[in-house]
C-alpha cells in the first residue's frame, strides 16, 4: 500500500472520530438519556448550536469581560508556573547533586508534597487575600512535579559520564554545568510540562472555590445562573489555553534538547 493512501485512510479515521464526538453530544443533548429513578437527565445539556450562539454572544457583547476572565486565569497560571520553575529547577538540581542540600530540603518537600494544592486555599487566603492565593495555588501545583523531575534528571546522570568529564580535566563546577544540567534537561522539561498541566487544573478549581475573576470562576457562576451554554464555552477556552501553554513548553523543550530527537531510534 502506498504512503498517500495510508495517510488518506488515517485522516478519514481521525475525522470520523471527531464527527462521532459531535454525534454523541447531539444525541445526549437532543434525544437524551433520562431516568427519574436514578435522577439523571442529559437533555439539560446545551446543544452544539446553543453553544455556538452563546459563544458568538460572549465575543460580541461581553468581549472585555471575557478578556478579563481569560487574562486573570492566564496571569495567575503563568506567574505561579514561572515562579515554580525559577525555584523548582535549581532546587531539584541541587537536591539531586548535593547531599547537604538534599538533607536540608528534601524532608520539607516530602512532608508538603502529599497535600493537594487546593487544600492550601484557606490558610493562604486568610493571610494573603484572593489574588495571591490564586497564584500560590498554581505555584504549589506546578512546583512539586518540577522539583521531582529535576531530581530524577540529575539521577539519570551516569557515573561513567562524570568519570569521563573528570578524566578530561573538568572540575566540579564544569561537571555540573556541562554534564549534569544538560543530562537532566529532558527530564526537567517533562516536569515543566506536567507542572503546567497541574497549574491549570489547580487554577480552575481554586477559582471555582474562591475566585472573583478567571475562567474557573466564570464557569461556576454561569452554572449557578443556569447559563449552561456559557459553561461549555468556558470549558473550550480552558482547553485551548491549556493546549497553547503545553505546546509552548514542548516547543522550548525540542529547541533546547535537539539531541533527543535522534535517540531511541535505530543507530
Amino acid at each position: 500500500m502506498n504512503q498517500s493512501f495510508l495517510k488518506y485512510k488515517q485522516n478519514i479515521l481521525r475525522g470520523t472520530s471527531i464527527v462521532c464526538l459531535f454525534i454523541i453530544w447531539w444525541l445526549l443533548a437532543e434525544v437524551g438519556l433520562k431516568s427519574d429513578l436514578l435522577g439523571f437527565d442529559t437533555t439539560r445539556w446545551p446543544t452544539a448550536w446553543q453553544v455556538i450562539q452563546a459563544g458568538h454572544n460572549l465575543l460580541t457583547e461581553q468581549l472585555s469581560t471575557m478578556i478579563r476572565h481569560i487574562g486573570s486565569s492566564l496571569y495567575r497560571v503563568l506567574v505561579g508556573f514561572i515562579l515554580a520553575a525559577i525555584l523548582g529547577v535549581p532546587l531539584g538540581l541541587g537536591i539531586g547533586w548535593n547531599q547537604i542540600i538534599r538533607d536540608l530540603t528534601f524532608p520539607i518537600i516530602e512532608i508538603l508534597r502529599p497535600i493537594p494544592p487546593l487544600a492550601w486555599i484557606p490558610v493562604i487566603l486568610i493571610a494573603f487575600g484572593t489574588n495571591t492565593t490564586m497564584i500560590f495555588i498554581t505555584f504549589i501545583g506546578a512546583f512539586f512535579p518540577i522539583v521531582l523531575n529535576s531530581i530524577l534528571g540529575v539521577h539519570s546522570v551516569e557515573e561513567v559520564e562524570v568519570r569521563a568529564a573528570e578524566s578530561l580535566g573538568a572540575d566540579g563546577m564544569m561537571v555540573f554545568k556541562e554534564v549534569v544540567i544538560p543530562k537532566a534537561l529532558p527530564s526537567i522539561f517533562t516536569g515543566l510540562s506536567v507542572g503546567m498541566g497541574i497549574a491549570w487544573i489547580s487554577i480552575v478549581a481554586a477559582e471555582m472555590i474562591a475566585g472573583n475573576y478567571g475562567l474557573g470562576y466564570f464557569i461556576w457562576s454561569m452554572y449557578n445562573t443556569l447559563n449552561y451554554s456559557q459553561v461549555v464555552i468556558g470549558m473550550i477556552l480552558l482547553g485551548i489555553l491549556g493546549y497553547l501553554c503545553s505546546t509552548i513548553i514542548r516547543y522550548l523543550g525540542v529547541k533546547l534538547t535537539p539531541w533527543t530527537k535522534f535517540q531511541g531510534g535505530d543507530k
Binding site: A164, S167, L168, G169
Partner: protein, 264 residues
Amino acid sequence: MIEFKNVDKIYQTPEGEPFPAVKNISLTINEGEFVTILGPSGCGKSTSLRMLAGFEKPTSGEVLIDDSPVGEPNSNRAVVFQDNSALFEWKTVKENVMFGPLACGKDPAEAKEIAEKNLALVGLLDHLEQYPAQLSGGMQQRVLIARALANNPDILLMDEPFGALDALTKTLLQEKLLEIWQESDITIYFITHDVEEAVFLSQSIHVMTAHPGSIKQSWENNLPYPRDLELRESEEFRNLKNEVLEAIYEESVTAAQQKIAQII
C-alpha cells in the same frame, strides 16, 4: 613509568562482606609502552584501570606514576571507556572532543582547532555537527578515542574499547590506534578479552587470573611494527597467540566454575 606495587582492591558487597576484586598485582610499564591486560570476565581487569585512572584508590599497595601515587583523575591520563554511554549525548561530535581542551583552559577557537585535528585523525571530519546517537558504534568509539587524545595525554587507558564492534570495524580501528600510538610517545594501557587483539596490538601482554585477579603470566611481544593483516598469518603470531590462549583458557575455566558454584 607506571608501577603497580602489591596492589589489593577489596570492595564491600551490599551485605557488608569483603569482596576482593584484585589481589597482589605488581606490574611495571615503561614510558611509551603499549600494554594489554587480558583475563576472564569479572577478574578485575577494569578495576586495575580504574585505580590507574584515579577513580578508585587501592585498598593496599601503591599505584605509582613516575614514583608518585596516582591522585584524582586528571587530563594526563585519558580514558577510553568500554561503552559509548561515556560520550556526552547532548553534545555534538565536535563539542565532545572540545570538552577536554576547554576543561584544561584552552580558549574556544583553540579547542575547536584541536578537536578538528583529532577528529581528522580518526576520519570523522564529515560528522562534526552530528550527535553521538546519529553515529554507528564504530564511529562513536572513534569519537571516544579522539576525545581522549585531544588533551595530549601521557597515558591512554582503554577499557575493552572495541569489544562491541563487528570484526571489520574492529580491525580498522586497531590499525588506526597503532598508527596513532606509533606517531606519539603515549603509553597505552589496554584491557581486552580478545587474545588476537592483544597479540596484534601490544608490546607486552599480561594475563590475569580468575577472580580475585592477579597477574598470572606475562609475555614480551617482539613482533615488529608496523603490524598489519599479514602479520596475523605468521607463525610467530600464531605461536604467541596460542600460548596466551592456553593461559587464559585455564583461567576462564576457573572463572566459569566460580560462577557455577555461585549459582549452586
